[in-house]
Every structure is written in C-alpha cells, then in structure tokens.
C-alpha cells in the first residue's frame, strides 16, 4: 500500500484561539496565517528566499527565527525574484511585531514587470506567543497560465520574504478546512468566529480556484449553546461527534466513485487506495 507522506489534513481553529483576534488588523493576521497553513499543506514546492533560484539585488540578510527559511531587507529598491509557473502566486512572509514596535514596510509584487499588488510585514498587535514573528502568506493574481518572473521589491521599511510559489504544480495534501467554532461565555457574542469563518470560506474558494484539493466543512453553522461543556468554552462530546461525522462525510463525498473489490489494498499507476468498510476508495490522486 502506498500513501503520500501525509494524505489528509484537517484544520480546526476554534474556541479559545478565535478569541484572540479582535481588530480588523488581527483578522488580517489570521487570514495570512491561515493562508500560510493552506499554502504549506497544499503546495509541494516553493522557492525560498535563500534558494539559488531566488535572484536578489540590493541588501538582504537571513531572517532571525529558527523556523525561518527566509530573508529580510530594509534597503529600499532591493529586489528578490524567481521564475514560477502558474496563474496565481503566493508570497510567504514573516510578520513582525518587535514587542509592539515594528518597523512597518511595504513591498511591491510584480509579475513579468506588471504590478499586481503589495504587502507589508507589519505584524503590530498580532496575537502570537512572543509578540515577535509569525508566518503568513499573501496570494496575488497573475495572468494566463504560464511561466513568469515574479518579483518582490522593497519600497520602504523592513520587508520579510520567506518564499515565492506558483499555482501550477502537483497537488499537496487533501485538506478539510473547518469553520472556526466559538464559546458561549457572556463576553462572546459569536461575532469573532463569524468574521473568521468568512475568511476561511474565502480562502478555501481561493485555493480551490488555484486547483488545490481543499474542502470546506462548515461545522460552525451547526454549533449551538448545547455543544459546549459547563465552562461554556470547550466543545463537548456531542459536538466532537458532529465534527467527526461531518469531516468523514466530506471526505467520502470528495472522493471519486468507490471501486468495489474484495482486495484489501493495492497500488496502481501511482495512485493509493485503502479499504474502508469493504470498499476500495482512492486516498490520493
């Protein structure tokens, strides 16, 4: 039996975690962080800022966090570019707060010389553990499917660049993105999880449009006050069962038609299969 190193990922952001995003800026940090998750899980390759394939001009230095594979620049006019295939492109970056005193910056993004957008590495007020750095990704539309030179150009301040990637590449994992759940504490009116749910839904649509195997499971729509424990915070047994049932149903409906066979498992033409309930189902294309 053959499987991808990781075949399926299920992402749930909820309860305590969604209580941390209060302001519109923090909602944007959530979006960037969630996009980074989808990017890492659904794309197999990227050109990191330290790769030979990233052509840099001006002044760049390796980024500080140990998990980083990127670099940074505070020299206006510095550029970093890579040749990528696709019709949309992702820029991976590091947001920085520097304990409340970041050096906000702006970088422009160009595709074959045409300006398609800009981004900032400013993470002031982001709800991270140490208020310093956090990963994020931004998605930029390109042109027709093809090969392009994608360039990041520092306009002002500090800019971090982790990687660039294009949408034309093999599938990564099959992903089930769950809408964020909420608490029922008196201070929580549900607005925050609703706002973050809108972000998740849009990101799923964006990544689907880019050909990624991403599926929305709107568990938040089923949540009621009866689905939390006595502390009004944590999801109880009943709602955990709903989540499991809904993700499993989404998984089954996302599959191609099952192939019925008595064989337990086999591998054919690079496709992995597994037996579930006596049926053969494709695990990944």
């Amino acid at each position: 039996m053959s499987f991808a190193p990781t075949s399926i990922s299920v992402i749930l952001e909820g309860v305590n975690d969604t209580q941390r995003y209060f302001t519109p800026a923090q909602h944007a940090y959530f979006k960037g962080f969630y996009a980074e998750l989808l990017s890492r899980l659904s794309y197999l390759s990227r050109v990191s800022c330290r790769d030979a394939g990233m052509v840099k001009t001006g002044a760049w230095a390796n980024t500080q966090p140990g998990w980083s594979e990127g670099c940074s620049s505070n020299t206006a006019g510095s550029t970093a570019s890579a040749v990528l295939k696709g019709r949309t492109f992702l820029v991976g970056t590091t947001l920085q707060d520097y304990f409340g005193s970041p050096v906000p910056g702006v970088a422009e993004v160009r595709v074959d010389g045409d300006l398609v957008g800009a981004y900032s590495s400013n993470g002031q007020g982001m709800p991270t553990a140490h208020n310093t750095f956090a990963p994020a990704a931004f998605r930029f539309p390109g042109k027709e499917e093809g090969e392009y030179t994608v360039e990041v150009k520092v306009i002002s301040g500090f800019i971090y660049l982790e990687y660039l990637l294009g949408s034309e590449q093999p599938q990564g994992e099959k992903i089930f993105a769950l809408t964020p759940t909420r608490t029922y504490q008196p201070s929580d009116n549900g607005a925050m999880s609703t706002a973050l749910g809108i972000i998740v839904k849009q990101l799923v649509l964006d990544f689907q449009a880019d050909g990624r195997d991403v599926h929305l499971v709107d568990v938040a729509a089923k949540q009621t006050p009866a689905h939390v424990t006595a502390d009004l915070i944590h999801l109880n047994d009943a709602f955990n069962k709903i989540i499991a049932d809904d993700v499993f149903a989404a998984y089954m409906s996302a599959l191609p038609p099952p192939v019925f066979t008595e064989t337990i498992c086999y591998e054919s033409e690079g496709k992995g299969y597994m037996g579930i309930g006596g049926r053969m189902v494709q695990v990944y294309p």
Partner: protein, 58 residues
Amino acid sequence: MFAEFWGDSTVVGQVGPSAGKSFASLLASKFGLPVRMNAANGSCSADQAIAILVFRTD
C-alpha cells in the same frame, strides 16, 4: 498508517470532550486508524494554535 493529531489540550481531549471522544479520536476510528496525540502545550492557551489532524505513514 496512522492519524496524527497536533493541537492544544482543548482539542486533543484533555479538556472538553471525554477521553476517546474528541473529534480526532472519533474520526481516526472511522478510518480504522490508531491516533497519536501531540499536544502543543499543556493548557488551552496555545497562541495561534490550530488543530491539525493528519493521516500519514511512519
């Protein structure tokens, strides 16, 4: 193959759902897979924590 769960205690079953009744455990059982829990920390306060359940081989 196994199901590997990354998340904070809210979702790995230490807080909230009863033992073995977290969605991770229930979902893994539907696939007939053992589940390995990896708590990001010992409390519910994991910053920007996201629960990720993956199915993968050793």
